[in-house]
């Protein structure tokens, strides 16, 4: 009897140690996999940084290394000289400000009106806006080019900004959010004699700030990164935006100065990276809510 009891408890002990060992193995495998994923995504980014800091001699050596031997910033100065980057920055800032600005303002006002302002059949107007989501800009590229050309706006800021200024997604996102706000909040303001614009600015906006921030960040990064339309609609070097401008540094014969080009790439990437580091919660949450909550 005693023997049996002993052996059972020993077995249990063994099972417990086994389970513990398995848990530890699982943890270790988990960490290894995580490191692998981070390396696969991170190394290309590290390669940009190291390329920008390397000398030509290191870049064009027969045995390239990941880390630069004598990090230096010459490539950044050379990149700034290689193309009119001051203009690219200016153009990107202006078009992002105008384009994303218009989107944010219109998303807020449209969503507010669709939820809080009375209008016959307003839900059908919402459907009309939603249907626009089904038409990507690529499909309407040709007619829009002809329209902008007809208005003599090729190679101008309004020409870059106008076709993409309207917003269905932002409207959708904010409308969903506004619908969750207590109606008493708005009614109270209205009873106090506040007009819709006052109510929107002083009652709704403060409460809806996180949702508006998400919409704003998504619009800003999308506009800053936009490539196809600015490529088509700008015709001179001084009107290019950053993404279009840097791609012209590539040498068609394959003799690209990689150090300079990597430094130039950082000119485009770093502002968005900084925004992302500062506000990634808004960006990530905004993207994820679209999928899960709808």
């Amino acid at each position: 009897m005693r023997d049996i009891a002993l052996s059972t408890s020993a077995d249990q002990q063994a099972i417990r140690t086994n389970r513990r060992a398995w848990q530890v193995t699982q943890k270790v495998l988990g960490y290894l996999a995580m490191i692998a994923v981070v390396l696969i995504i991170g190394i290309p980014v590290a390669w940009v940084l190291s390329g920008a800091l390397k000398t030509n001699r290191e870049i064009f050596s027969t045995a390239p290394q990941l880390l630069p031997l004598n990090p230096n910033f010459d490539n950044f100065a050379k990149a700034w000289q290689a193309a009119p980057f001051d203009r690219f920055y200016l153009n990107s800032f202006i078009t992002t400000l105008l384009g994303a600005g218009a989107k944010i303002v219109m998303a807020v006002t449209t969503a507010y009106a669709l939820v809080f302002v009375r209008f016959p059949k307003r839900d059908w107007i919402f459907v009309l806006l939603l249907l626009a989501l089904m038409v990507p800009e690529e499909v309407v590229l040709v007619p829009n080019y002809l329209t902008i050309a007809g208005w003599r706006m090729v190679n101008t800021y309004p020409g870059i900004v106008l076709p993409g200024a309207s917003t269905a997604f932002g409207t959708f996102l904010l409308r969903q959010y506004f619908r969750t706000l207590p109606i008493e909040l708005i009614d109270a303001a209205r009873v106090d004699g506040a007009g819709h614009l006052r109510t929107l600015l002083s009652v709704v906006m403060p409460v809806a700030a996180p949702a508006v921030a998400t919409t704003a960040l998504l619009s800003i990064t999308a506009k800053w990164n936009e490539y196809l339309w600015p490529l088509l609609i700008t015709t001179t070097e001084d009107m290019r935006t950053l993404p279009v401008g840097i791609s012209r540094l590539l040498d068609q014969e394959g003799n690209t100065e990689w150090g300079v080009v990597m430094a130039a790439t950082l000119f485009v990437i770093v502002p968005v990276m900084l925004i992302f580091l500062y506000a990634q919660r808004f960006v990530v949450d905004g993207i994820a809510t679209g999928a899960v909550k709808g």
Partner: protein, 319 residues
């Protein structure tokens, strides 16, 4: 745009709600002011959609039957000739199959890898938040910049992959100039850029699965694999379907990477519908033929979206 994603997730029932309780009340003076406010708030957005989204769809239809030339700025009705030229060209079959291969492989890889990484980063591991951030960062960076970076990585003489393979004595492929390697290269970059997006959506989906389901399964004696098949996968199905559709749609629009890395080459190896559209319009200056391709793209995308709406109604299980 991945923005189309929102459409099928809408609760369509809500549209049939009565719009307001005083619907049949006589229109008072105040209602006119409400209407004016509404027009002022919604008008600009709607007007821009009219000019730059709805009207162009009609104009596309007209252009497809004309020989409008971008340079001479004139054209006339030519019947179905644009359709014959576009669909009958020797490269068109290649373009369709490229589009199909690019979309299918990218979407499968994004779903499979995205799910794996999401399961991994959903574990209680130290530093998983930092890992998620790093993983997500390529998604928000300019496709143009990423394309340039990867040209350097793929460079067969000085690139990172060359540096990696050199000590092993394996010659690096001429990724972007070899017709056999160009499409895989484009797909690698596309998947690398969008993996973070798929992962974030999957993680959100995983966290939306009620904990009780796992506990109930455990009480019933289900092992880890059983729980994955019978709780996790069914629970993820709406999110997974959403991801399939959005990644299909955005893969149809992948232009920046292709234009910068390969310009559709070598010998049309990476020429897809969206690149072909660009090529027809801005290289060949033929608005009519570009409009034909634009229509084809539009029809394909609407078909995928409608499929999503129907499928979501029927088969997807909501845990």
């Amino acid at each position: 745009m991945q923005l189309i994603l929102a459409l099928p997730l809408l609760n369509w029932g809500e549209l049939n709600e009565p719009m307001s309780s005083n619907r049949f009340v006589r229109i008072a003076r105040r209602d006119w002011r409400e209407w004016l406010t509404f027009a002022a708030f919604v008008g600009p957005n709607l007007l821009l959609f009219g000019i730059f989204t709805y009207y162009p769809l009609i104009q596309n239809g007209v252009l497809a039957f004309s020989n409008y030339n971008l340079i001479t700025r004139s054209g006339q009705f030519i019947g179905l000739r644009n359709f014959e030229t576009v669909f009958g060209s020797t490269q068109f079959g290649k373009i369709l199959s490229n589009t199909f291969v690019f979309t299918t492989v990218s979407v499968l890889l994004l779903i499979a890898l995205g799910l794996m990484v999401a399961l991994l980063l959903n574990q209680k591991l130290r530093g998983r938040n930092a890992a998620r951030s790093i993983l997500f960062s390529p998604t928000i960076l300019a496709g143009a910049a990423i394309a340039i970076v990867w040209i350097y990585i793929f460079d067969p003489r000085f690139g990172f992959i060359y540096a990696l393979l050199r000590p092993l004595g394996i010659p690096a492929p001429k990724w972007l100039t070899d017709p056999a390697w160009a499409m895989p290269a484009i797909i690698i970059v596309y998947v690398w850029k969008n993996l973070g997006y798929a992962t974030v959506i999957f993680i959100a989906g995983l966290q939306a699965i009620p904990r009780e389901l796992y506990e109930a399964a455990r009480v019933d004696g289900a092992g880890a694999l059983d729980r994955f098949w019978h709780v996790t996968l069914p629970g993820l199905s709406p999110v997974m379907f959403f991801l399939v559709v959005t990644t299909i749609l955005s893969s149809f629009q992948a232009f920046d990477i292709i234009n910068i890395m390969t310009k559709g080459g070598p010998v049309n190896a990476t020429n897809t519908l969206i690149f072909h559209l660009y090529e027809l319009f801005f290289v060949q200056s033929s608005a009519g033929r570009a409009a034909v391709v634009a229509w084809l793209l539009f029809v394909l995308m609407v078909a995928v979206t409608l499929l999503q709406v129907r499928y979501l109604e029927r088969r997807v299980s909501y845990a």
